[in-house]
Amino acid sequence: MTAQITVTEGGLPHNTLMIYGLIGSLVGIYLTYLNTVTGTQLFSFFGGLGAIAALVWGSDTIKRLCSYGIGTGVPSAGMLAFGSGVIAMLLATKFGIASPIVALVLGLVIGGILGYIANNILAMKIPVMIQSIAELAAVGALVMIGFTAMATGTFTFSPLSVIQVTVLGAAANSFGTSLIGGGLLAAIFMLGSIALQHGFNACLGPSEKQDRTLTLTAEVGFLSMLMVAICSFAFIGIGALIVSIIVSVIGWYYTYSQYITLSKRDAAAWLDTKPIVEAEGH
């Protein structure tokens, strides 16, 4: 049995936050289906909001796992989450409309088995290990499917691999210009894992506060969302693209100013640095 090293007081209980994150991300990802219903692409940005809900949940899970001192650093948990999450997510995209739910379930199953390997075969003996790695793999899968839905407006395998292009008036299937064929999935992978691991990695230590950590995660999540919005230029119309960028920038600005406010609240003292004044006359 490994002793818990740091315990943060206050804040929402982890299970409550998990339910919020889970429902928030599924609802967000499913709202992109309005694209198909209404025949537009304007609702793509909901995928990014769903991904951020999952990121906030995952950040709290990382905090719970890493408070036991796993010794390998916080980023390794994020890498494990996305390494297993991308595997779950890609298989889940084969299940059509059920993809986000399948991604969640597959992530939990794959993560659960990996957690068992880490906890029992590798004898880590951390009480929350299996549950945490299962949650993290599910978070990884949901974030990837959310950002993918935002970039392309859809979350099923065929449209992610093939897109119809018109060459000299004739319609043709193009594989190289799709999200998977073009390799943009790798960019989404890194954007998501940076957002997931940065919050707790930056805020850990004495007087860590849950709201500040999670606000930072959401802030980095919105920055990633902005990059995904720019990636989506290749797949969705200019109107939907502008909507995505505006939502990302507003979300980033709000969470950034909130994070600065919370940092000022938690800081012992706050001194605004001024530019170094050059002494004159030498």
Binding site: G73, G83, L91, A186
Partner: protein, 281 residues
């Protein structure tokens, strides 16, 4: 790196027989599912498992120093396994992927050389920074004499530290780890690429040349995912830091081999299922 201390398994690293057997049974079940659903993908799955085991084994050679190494208080490269794996292992994977059309043997060796070269450059620059930037010599804290060169270590070790810098044995360990990691990652990529080249044309009703971008990207992203899973599991086995092959923690590697075997069988199964499951919805 986390500022939180390293806890976890006790030194020595005895295998837990019950959970190891459960893990191996799971691996056999995963292999059995592939054998039933896609017999042609059975050999690639075994290749994927071999690649994953090579990665998990290779991580044990790499001198991962972590935060203490960044402060010059422990030997090794001053970062975590996840970063070293992403740097060195993926360099090997990309190197091997370029040589994919020259056959499995050439491509795997190319990937191994890519990973080993990247680790050699990393280790060299780490020592340059330690010696000329921080002004500390290389000394191991775990052994009295370097097993390869026979150089004594204690005179160079500062009091209150576990050693510092990269001694020769750690340098060699880093390169060997890079060889294993790069080769293993490339092997996973090649096996998956073969499976996708075989199944995707029928799935999309297209020619092999047309689906190549999708096959390459899918194999690449799955290989990256499996690489990170295996590397992080191996990192959990060494609780974050290790000096190299001479470190007592190195003896824990059988546990990591079982873990990588089960994890690679699981991930390989899912990666193969993506072309087998065809629901048309």
């Amino acid at each position: 790196m986390s500022a939180l201390g390293g806890a976890g398994p006790a030194p020595g690293g005895a295998m837990d027989p019950v959970s190891s057997v459960i893990g191996l049974v799971l691996a056999v079940i995963f292999i059995g599912i592939v054998f039933v659903l896609a017999p042609a993908a059975l050999m690639p799955l075994l290749g994927i498992i071999l690649g994953g085991v090579l990665i998990g084994f290779g991580v044990h050679f790499v001198p991962v120093g972590g935060a203490p190494a960044a402060m010059g208080q422990a030997p090794g490269i001053a970062t975590g396994v996840a970063m070293l794996a992403a740097g060195a292992g993926l360099a090997g994977l990309f190197g091997g992927a370029w040589a994919a059309e020259l056959g499995v043997v050439v491509a795997t060796i190319t990937g191994a050389i890519g990973g080993g070269l990247m680790m050699a450059i990393t280790c060299l620059m780490v020592n340059v920074i330690y010696v000329f930037g921080m002004g500390i010599p290389a000394a191991s804290g775990k052994v009295a004499k370097d097993p390869l060169t026979g150089d004594t270590q204690a005179e160079y070790k500062s009091q209150g530290t576990e050693g510092h810098g990269l001694p020769f044995i750690s340098f060699v360990g880093g390169v060997v780890g890079g060889l294993f990691g790069g080769g293993g990652g490339t092997l996973i990529y090649l096996m998956l690429l073969g499976v996708y080249e075989q199944y995707l044309p029928a799935l999309f009703d297209a020619k092999v040349e047309q689906i190549m971008p999708v096959a390459v990207s899918l194999a690449g992203i799955f290989a990256i995912g499996m690489f990170l899973v295996n590397a992080v599991l191996a990192a959990y086995n060494i609780t974050g830091t290790i000096e190299g092959p001479h470190d007592p923690k190195f003896k824990r590697f059988p546990r990591a081999i079982v873990a990588s075997l089960v994890a690679s069988a699981l991930c390989g199964l899912v990666a193969i299922l993506i072309v087998v499951v065809n629901l048309n919805i």
